[in-house]
């Protein structure tokens, strides 16, 4: 038992720890700062992440092309896409806010899914595709800006508010947005960075 313990130090707080082989479902946390040092996930391949990223991309396309809600006041009816709000904020002169919403609700979710798709596909197929390392790194950064679940909750609040102005009806778009939030979450959970690092090392 003693020979599979290797001394190492935590990347966050530099406290020493003994590295050891983990069983499935276990994780090793730093005793000082509780940073997750490593984790042996139940899933040992990137196939699920690849599949969910593909699903997510399809859902993102649907969520952006179906109206989220239909609003009706005194006979004037309007159906809104996600981009409609962005465009009207832009038209009202608030383009910094419009850019922020566009980035967090449309661009970042798609870029996150695309990067996960590319990296997990490369790892699953054992292909040495260009820029895989950089894209794997970028996906980590962009993940924090993908805010579909927050957007979904904002839609619910908006419907409640619009109900005071006129009559509002849900459209199919909100259903795709809800599915997309779940899918984005599952992608983050299944895309195991430790496996990616190992595969990329094997590929060289």
């Amino acid at each position: 038992m003693a020979d599979d313990l290797t001394p190492n130090s935590c990347p966050t707080c530099a406290a020493g720890f003994l590295d050891r082989e983990l069983e499935v479902g276990q994780e090793l946390r730093c005793g000082r700062c509780s940073h997750v040092l490593k984790r042996e996930g139940r899933i040992r391949s990137l196939h699920p992440a690849w599949a969910f990223a593909t699903t997510g991309l399809i859902l993102a396309a649907l969520a952006n092309s179906y109206p989220v809600m239909t609003f009706d006041v005194a006979g004037n009816t309007q159906s809104n896409l996600i981009i409609t709000g962005v465009l009207s904020l832009g038209a009202q002169g608030y383009w910094p806010v419009a850019v922020l919403v566009f980035f967090c609700a449309i661009a970042a979710p798609v870029l996150h899914l695309l990067s996960v798709w590319y990296v997990s596909a490369a790892c699953c197929l054992g292909q040495r595709w260009p820029m895989v390392r950089q894209i794997a790194h970028a996906s980590e950064r962009i993940e924090a800006w993908s805010l579909v679940p927050v957007f979904a909750v904002a839609c619910v609040v908006a419907v409640v508010k619009l109900d005071m102005l006129g009559s509002v009806q849900w459209d199919l778009g909100i259903f795709w947005i809800a599915l997309l939030s779940v899918c984005t979450f599952v992608v983050s959970q299944t895309f195991d960075r430790a496996i990616v690092a190992r595969r990329l090392e094997e590929l060289g």
């Binding site: 004037n76 910094p96 927050v150 909750v153 908006a158 508010k161």
Partner: protein, 167 residues
């Protein structure tokens, strides 16, 4: 980026966030026109309106996400930066950083809400929603806190004089 640059940049971002927090909450974020009634709404005003219509669970979510969360973020980031380099309450600071990282983005709810509402912008004269300058201040506060938390890495909480001198 050097560690000292990171700390200075985070301090600057938090300071700007604290200053911008005041106009963000005082200036209206949007104007809602209902049946000819022009009603400018601040962030708190929007919450109040939801509460008055009896929807207190929704009002509670918006209140937490757009008023409490940004304020707590600014407070705990200032606290972390003030204690930077000392060894006081390090595990607590690390825990606070993790919490900030997880709940921080939920304050975007108000900006998204504005975007969805603004989509009805040009629906006749009876009902319209128009963005107001408060929205710019509010987004600026959010960006300041998000970037400050990103720049001030958890690693820096554990930085001591020996480790910083060694680098």
């Amino acid at each position: 980026m050097k560690n000292l640059t990171r700390v200075r940049l985070a301090q600057a971002l938090v300071a700007s966030g604290l200053v911008l927090y005041i106009p963000a909450n005082v200036i209206p974020v949007m104007t809602m026109t209902v049946a000819g009634d022009v009603e400018p709404l601040t962030v708190l005003g929007g919450v109040q309106e939801l509460y008055d219509s009896g929807l207190w669970p929704v009002a509670g979510i918006v209140f937490l996400a757009s008023i409490v969360v940004p304020f707590l973020k600014l407070l705990s980031l200032s606290w972390m930066l003030l204690l930077h380099g000392t060894s006081t309450l390090r595990p607590h600071r690390a825990a606070a950083h993790r919490i900030i990282h997880q709940i921080g983005t939920w304050s975007m709810i108000d900006i998204f809400l504005l975007a969805v509402l603004a989509a009805v912008g040009q629906l006749g004269i009876l009902a319209s929603v128009q963005a107001e300058p408060g929205a710019l201040f509010f987004s600026a506060v959010l960006l300041c806190t998000l970037f400050a938390a990103e720049v001030y890495e958890p690693k820096l909480i554990w930085e001591t004089e020996e480790t910083s001198a060694a680098k």
